[in-house]
């Protein structure tokens, strides 16, 4: 049999190799044993050690010892450090599962916090925004803030006001249409960044008929389009553009009276 070459480290470890497999809890030693299993020298050593260990186990235990063994244990209960727990595959798997569940829960929570009454309509209008050309709108060149009076007088739409954050932007065109739910929707084309505004009735409670209010600006993103929406006096306003919510953030972070 050709003896495999053992490294110096392997030889050092093999001289200390325990006889019982359950005592081999060292990775380097296990590797060394793997290398040496088929060598004659190691087999001779193991046979030698087994015979000597058997001789030791034949040492008789005096009766005074067997009778004197105390009934209680003197060894303190084992306290497993947290690292040992962490390395346990069962704890590791549970930990990873809990982490994944926590991440999903956080995502769902953030998603839920971002939802608002009228969100389905807002998403539909984002699709509308992506397929609309300025030519489809009636030309109206004015400040966006002035549109409220125009819409009230021409279309009898009360409270269809552009919020102060977007009131100073110049408009290019405007149209009023009924969406698939029969709601009156105003669409405005703005010069800046080819932005579009939508004004539409806020979602209503079917029992009371009252508008479902929500506070502050809410963000939605869909197919490379982003919108920021706000409810005021039962009407939702949404500014939309092609891009991300970051592009709209500077407008809504402005403090306006």
């Amino acid at each position: 049999m050709s003896a495999p070459q053992l490294s110096r480290k392997d030889k050092v470890l093999l001289h200390c190799a325990p006889l019982r497999d359950e005592h081999i809890n060292d990775r380097a030693l296990r590797t060394a044993l793997h290398h040496a299993r088929k060598t004659d020298v190691f087999a001779v050593q193991q046979n030698f050690d087994k015979a000597a260990a058997a001789l030791v186990q034949s040492i008789p235990i005096p009766q005074e010892i067997t009778e004197w063994i105390p009934p209680d244990t003197f060894i303190a209960p084992v306290r497993r450090p947290w690292k040992k727990y962490a390395q346990n595959p069962a704890f590791l798997a549970t930990g990873i599962a809990v982490l994944v569940i926590a991440i999903i829960a956080v995502f769902q929570l953030v998603d839920r916090l971002n939802r608002f009454p009228g969100e389905p309509t807002a998403r539909r209008l984002l699709t509308t925004a992506s397929s609309t050309h300025a030519m489809m709108l009636d030309p109206v060149k004015t400040d966006a803030g002035a549109l409220g009076d125009f819409l009230f007088m021409k279309h009898r739409l009360a409270h269809y006001d552009v919020p102060p954050e977007f009131a100073e932007l110049k408009t290019l065109g405007c149209r009023v249409f009924d969406d698939e739910e029969g709601q009156r929707v105003v669409q405005v084309w703005v010069v800046e960044k080819k932005m579009q505004f939508f004004l539409f009735p806020a979602e209503r409670d079917p029992k009371t008929g009252k508008a479902r209010e929500f506070s502050g600006w809410r963000t939605i993103e869909q197919e490379r389009w982003a919108g920021v929406a706000k409810e005021q006096n039962g009407v939702c306003f949404m500014a939309a553009l092609r891009g991300s919510a970051k592009d709209l953030a500077p407008y809504i972070s402005k403090k306006k009276d």
């Binding site: 001289h15 000597a52 040492i59 209680d72 244990t73 003197f74 060894i75 303190a76």
Partner: protein, 160 residues
């Protein structure tokens, strides 16, 4: 007391016996170690693991050994381990092996006694003997060869 713990204590006695090669002394050391452990447990400072018992017994054994005849510090003859060594060892009494181990200088004595108890992992051996891996390795390797030389001298007829 659990059976496993009882067996550990029997191994502790065997360790003491290998270290001093005297049943009476081994019993005294065994009892002294257990009394020490009981006292610590009563004070709420129970030993953390079974290795404590072997460490404590080790020092007691070495202390007891200092009072008797001392092994001479000589380079013992060494032989290559032989295929027929197990048959040579089978002819020995356990007490003869204990006398041979107890005659070895420490830390080789402790290393051999602990190793042949067949009770400890490699890390446990390093911990109780307070040796570095190459040191433990050399002591065990030399111990085997020296014991083989002694076996060859004691049972020359068994060689082919």
């Amino acid at each position: 007391m659990a059976e496993e713990e009882k067996q550990n204590l029997f191994q502790l006695y065997r360790f003491c016996f290998l270290m001093v090669a005297d049943a009476t002394k081994a019993q005294e050391i065994f009892h002294a170690t257990l009394r020490d452990a009981a006292q610590l447990a009563a004070n709420g400072e129970a030993p953390r693991d079974r290795l404590w018992f072997f460490r404590d017994a080790r020092w007691r054994c070495l202390e007891a050994g200092e009072q008797g005849l001392q092994a001479e510090d000589v380079d013992l003859e060494q032989d290559e381990l032989a295929d027929w060594a197990p048959s040579q060892i089978e002819k020995l009494e356990a007490e003869q092996f204990a006398i041979w181990i107890a005659g070895a200088p420490d830390p080789q004595r402790t290393a051999l006694a602990l190793f042949y108890l067949d009770e400890f992992s490699y890390r446990d051996l390093l911990s109780v003997t307070e040796l570095k891996p190459p040191e433990l390795s050399k002591l065990l390797c030399d111990g085997r060869r020296q014991f083989q030389a002694w076996l060859d001298a004691t049972f020359p007829a068994t060689q082919p």
